[in-house]
Each structure stands twice: as structure tokens, then as C-alpha cells.
Amino acid sequence: MKERLAGVEPLARLLWPPFFLCALLVVTWVIIDNVFSGGSGKDVFYTQTALRGFLMLIIVLALQIFSGNSGVLSFGHVAFVAIGAYMSALLTIPPEIKSFTYLTMADKFPWLSYWILPAKLSALEGTLAGAGFALAFAILIAPPIVRLKGVQAGIATLALLVIVNVFIIQTPSITRGASTLIGVPNTTTLLSVMVWASIFVGVAYAFQQSRHGLRLRASRENERAARSVGVRVPVERAIAWVLSGFVAGVAGALYGHAFGGTFSPQDFYFNTNGFDIVLLPIAMLVIGGMTSVTGAVVGCYFLTVAYTVFNRPDALGITEGKPPSGTANLVLGFVLLATLALRPRGLTGGREIPWPTEWSFDWVRRLPENTCRLLRGEVRPAGLVWLRERYRGVREPDGPSSPEGPAASSTESRT
């Protein structure tokens, strides 16, 4: 029996991270669905938050597929989200509603109206269709984008986002301009988003492990070295870009049918005074650790919880001393700063979740002992030690032998 188990262990080890993460999602869904939204009179706050959290998770996974593996930053994935949302909404709104909300489409865009206006797709078909359009758009714009890297890629994808946003606002006969859509079926449930998120956890992990993912990761670490061993970097980037465009499109399609089926272009653009769909997923990815799927999930959970706790403390039972509005963003900024200062490579350090037998509980075991020593003043917290090291290191030219600095190891070394 043991030998047979040993035979499957490599496979089990390979499948462990996505299995664990999907289990985490399912557990979250069970808890949210049964514990928090049981009573009838209770507000839908938790369900809504979890729904938004899962939707963000899909966007973060899309970003992970492209940015995490290629190391190229993208601000433009929200453009795919917007395209997915609009196209799936257009194709799922009942034709009888479309006939009087899109009066000008037949005149101005007959080549669109003859198949959009009578279309009546189911929720799943609509989602796939919306994501399909996002995928087609990703293919269309892949050639210029995949040739760029660094700041240039960031600005080019930002330009993409602006272009799509302006187009949506300025083409009211297709998109109803800046106003909200009417009659979008409210078909997205917490369960469906959870299932899609689980699928994409698997997809992101499978892509990361595939030959294309490996080539792309090699080009992330050292583009010249990867090219020199025959990796066609633009091609690999394009594959990741198109795949992540599809994933983001699904997120958009689901977004369009959630929250009562109302959305406007402003939902898919910078929102400086609230929940920012452009910058927050990037922050989530970096906070969790860009290079791993675990990092994407952990970062999303971490920031969603941090944001929610301070956005609606009354929903958690804290009714006294309600902080003024805006605290959530203030705290979010602070949490981001503190996390990045203490763990610059993200919460997971960019690694996947380890195999259960390799979990280290040393820090838990040593916690009482360390707390006592801390209280007695024998040690200082690792973060402070690390900060001191940091400041000492930068006074003079530091040795080129330690490109990562003391950051990589100091959080663990509590001596």
C-alpha cells in the first residue's frame, strides 16, 4: 500500500496547489452561503462582498496568467472585463427590451443589429460569448502589446484601457453611452462565480506548469537567456495574453449579470474615491506574490478582507465608534505599505502552497517563547531588525553579492 502511494505522490504533489486553492474557495462559499446569509431579514452584504471578491479573484487570476508568468505589467485587463460585460449583456438582454432601448442601432450599425437585436442567449452561452469577444479583441491587439515590456507595456496597456473606455462612452447606439444598461438578467450567483473561479485556478496553474508557461517564466527571469535557448518570447507572451484576455472576459460577463444587472462604463475605469477595479487587482497580485497562483488567491483574500472590515464595520457587529467614510481606503493604503515593506516579494514570497508534510510550524511553536523574549526586551521584532539592516545597507555602496538584500531571509530569522 505504501509503495503504491509513493508511486502517485509526484502526481499528488503536482496537483496539490490547485486542489488546495479550490478547496479553499469551496469552503469560503459554504461558509458565506450557510453561515452568513441564512436569515431572511439580514442584508446581503456578505454575499455581495464574497461575490465581488470572487469576481476580483478571476481578474487577479487573469493578471497572474499574463503578468505573473511574463513579468510584464498590464493595466489593460479591465478593458477585456468591460468588453466581456458589454457583449454578454447585449446578447442576453431579452429581445423585446432591446427593441426599445436600442432604437438607433439598426440605423447606424446594421451589420451588428441584425444578429445582436434578436439574440437571446442563456447565461452560460452569454458568458462564453462575451469572453469569446474579449478573446478576439486580445488576439487583435496582441501583436503590438507583446513586443513591449516594462514601463512601455504598462503605458500601452493603459492606453488600451482608455481607448476602450472612451469608445464605450462615445458609442451610445451600441453601449447606451455613459448610462446604465437596462434589462440585463441577474443570473450570476455566488455559486457560479465560485465555480468559474475554481476552474480558472486550475487553468492558471495548468498554464504555469505547461511548456508555454515554463518558457514564459524563463523569459521573465532572463529574457536574453531564454531567447538564446530558443524561446520565442513574443509568441509565448501572446499565448498568455490571449488566455488571460479570455479569463478577464469571463469575469466581465459574470460582473455584468451580478449586482442587479446594472453597470456603467465607470465600473470599468479608474475610480479614485472607492473600489478601484483597475489598480486593486494589480495590488492584490503583488501583495500575494506575483509569480504563483497561490499568491493571486492569497492576495485577493487578504485585501478583500482588509477592505471589507474597514468599509463596513457595522456589518461585523461593531456599531459603536463608526469610523468616518474613507477609512477603508486609508487602511488599504497603510496595509499595502506595511505588507510591502515587510514582505517585498509578497505574502507567499511568490511560491505555491507547499505539500502538507512540508509545512513549517516552527514560528507557531516558537511563538510563546519569542513573545516572552520580546517582552523581556531580548529581541526586537523581525521587521524592525530588517528595517535597521535596510538603512544600514544603503549608507555605502553595498556589495553586489546580495541583490535581494537581507529581505529574503530576515523575516524568518528571529534570533
Binding site: 503605458i155 472612451v166 486609508l330 493604503g333 499595502l336 544603503v394
Partner: protein
């Protein structure tokens, strides 16, 4: 507005130059930080916010005190940003620096909304002296426009002198070229980076004063966001590798947008509600694809390319002769 006569064209051109100058100053500060530490500083907009609110709260102190206070507050804020937020992550990956600057931006903006952003609309009443307009054969030219030109010119000349003539300037330029190498030959990292943030703060205070005076009585905590994105895109298409290129890129994009706003019908605020923006940003993507180092790039310019093409042959020839 329809272009009717030569005077209108000149009018628009003069305004656009002034508007572009503001973005040139912003892009200069952004490029300085990017060059020295690889930071895309999204918190730059909050410096302008801080400047705007400092002007609001000190507006009754007389204009000299107001200017001094604005410069002091913005510069100190810029230095504090470096000390508290950016120093701990200095050697992290560029994307971590970027997220850190988001965090600073979020933090300061939320702070702005919670403290000074509440209550009635805040603003600085336009100074009648600045609003005075000269009328030169149909072209109206306000003193504010002239002031913007003069301040920009002075700051650009000052920056040029600083970068070319002083020890600090040489250190800054060396750090922009290759930070690690500069450190190895004795440039002190803390000093250079603090100096870069200080200079950025000075430039930001100038931008804040001129921008607030120009847009009139409407100061909100998100005042810096719109111009920041334009300045960023301008700096990148101009070329973040060289300070002059970035400033020029910011100037060209800012001036172009102002000219488009003035000449095209149905325009909004800084977020241009026009299809022209689509074409403008398509042009941006095209520029980035064909000239990834920017339009004005010192490193990847024509001469450098020729040099690269020629160098290996020479090396081979030398080795063969030796």
C-alpha cells in the same frame, strides 16, 4: 469653437504652450524619480493635492507666505514619502515600487477626503492681478499665461544648470544612467534619492500653484489624478531614459490635448470625452511599439545604433591584428 481667424489660432497656440509647460514640469519630476530609482510615482498627484489645499488654507496670508508655505509643505511631503514609504522597498522589483506608490496615493487621497476634502467646495479666488488680460490685436494674453511661461522657463533652465554644473547634478545623472555603478564609485544612495525627491517636490509645488491658479476655484482630493496620467504618458512617449525627452514629451502631449480641447467641439474636463483621445492613444501605442525608448532617446538614438552596428566588427578586427 471653430477656428475663424489667425488671432484665434495664435490664442490657442499660446494657451497650449502654457498648458503643455505644466505637463513638462510634471513629466520632468516623474522622469527624475524613474531614472534614479525605477519608480513610476503614482503618488505625484497627491503632491499637487497637498499643494492645492495648502494654498487654500494659507490664501489669506498674502501671496508670498502662501507660495512659501506651499513649496515647503509639498517638498517636505515629498521627502517624507521617500523616507517612510519608498526607502524600505527601494531595492524591490519595479512593480513593487509601483504598488507602493499606489498605496501612498490611496492613503493620502483617503486622508484628503476624510480631512480637508469634506465640506463646501474649496478654492483659491483668482488674483485680479493675474487675471488681467492684455489685448494684442485680438489675441488675449493673461498675466497668468506669461507667469506660467516664465516659471517653466526659469525652472527648466535652473534644472539644466543644476544637472550640468553641480556635483549633485552629476551624481543625479550618473544615478539615472546606472544606479548600482554610481553607488560603486561613491555616490551616496540616500543623499541622491532624497535629493531627487526634494527636487520633485519643488517642481510639484510649482505645478500645484500654477495648476490651481489656472483651473480656478475647484480643489478636490483627486485634483492631481487627471494631469498625472497625461504627464505619465507624455513622459513615456518622450522617453523616460532622458530628462529632456520626458519633459518634451509631457509638453507635446499636454499642448496637443489643450489644442484639441480648444478646437474640437463637445469637450469635457481632463478626461476628454472625444473620440480623438482614441486616436491619440493609438498613436501612443504606435510610438511605443516603434520607438520603445521614446521619441527623444539619447541611448537608442541614431548615433548609438550606428555605434552598436560598427563596434563588434572593430573588436574583431583588433583581436585579429593583435
Amino acid at each position: 469653437m471653430i477656428i475663424g481667424s489667425a488671432s484665434v489660432v495664435i490664442q490657442i497656440a499660446l494657451d497650449s504652450i502654457a498648458y503643455g509647460s505644466l505637463f513638462a514640469l510634471m513629466a520632468l519630476g516623474l522622469a527624475l524619480l524613474f531614472g534614479v530609482m525605477g519608480l513610476m510615482n503614482f503618488a505625484y498627484g497627491e503632491l499637487i493635492m497637498a499643494g492645492g489645499f495648502t494654498m487654500f488654507y494659507t490664501r489669506s496670508w498674502g501671496w508670498v507666505a502662501m507660495l512659501v508655505m506651499t513649496i515647503v509643505v509639498v517638498t517636505v511631503l515629498s521627502l517624507l514619502m521617500e523616507l517612510i514609504a519608498f526607502r524600505p522597498v527601494r531595492r524591490a522589483a519595479p512593480v513593487v515600487l509601483l504598488i507602493t506608490s499606489f498605496a501612498v496615493s490611496y492613503f493620502l487621497e483617503a486622508l484628503g477626503w476624510m480631512t480637508v476634502g469634506t465640506g463646501p467646495q474649496k478654492g483659491v479666488e483668482p488674483y485680479p492681478w493675474l487675471d488681467h488680460q492684455f489685448d494684442i490685436s485680438g489675441v488675449r494674453l493673461s498675466r497668468l499665461t506669461i507667469v506660467i511661461w516664465v516659471v517653466t522657463l526659469v525652472l527648466v533652465v535652473g534644472m539644466t544648470l543644476l544637472l550640468k554644473r553641480t556635483a549633485l547634478g552629476i551624481q543625479l545623472r550618473a544615478s539615472t544612467e546606472d544606479f548600482r555603478m554610481a553607488q560603486l564609485v561613491g555616490v551616496r544612495a540616500n543623499w541622491v534619492i532624497s535629493a531627487a525627491f526634494g527636487i520633485t517636490g519643488l517642481l510639484a509645488s510649482a505645478v500645484a500653484v500654477l495648476y490651481v491658479l489656472r483651473i480656478g476655484p475647484a480643489i478636490a482630493p483627486d485634483i492631481g489624478q487627471g494631469p498625472l496620467i497625461i504627464a505619465f504618458v507624455g513622459a513615456v512617449i518622450g522617453g523616460l531614459g532622458s530628462l529632456a525627452g520626458a519633459a518634451l514629451g509631457g509638453f507635446v502631449l499636454g499642448a496637443m490635448i489643450n489644442a484639441l480641447q480648444a478646437t474640437l467641439p463637445a469637450s469635457g474636463d481632463l478626461v476628454l470625452n472625444n473620440h480623438t483621445l482614441v486616436f491619440a492613444y493609438l498613436a501612443v501605442i504606435a510610438i511605443l511599439v516603434f520607438q520603445p525608448d521614446g521619441l527623444v532617446s539619447l541611448r537608442a538614438g541614431g548615433l548609438a545604433r550606428l555605434w552598436k552596428r560598427w563596434r563588434p566588427k572593430r573588436a574583431v578586427a583588433e583581436r585579429a591584428s593583435a
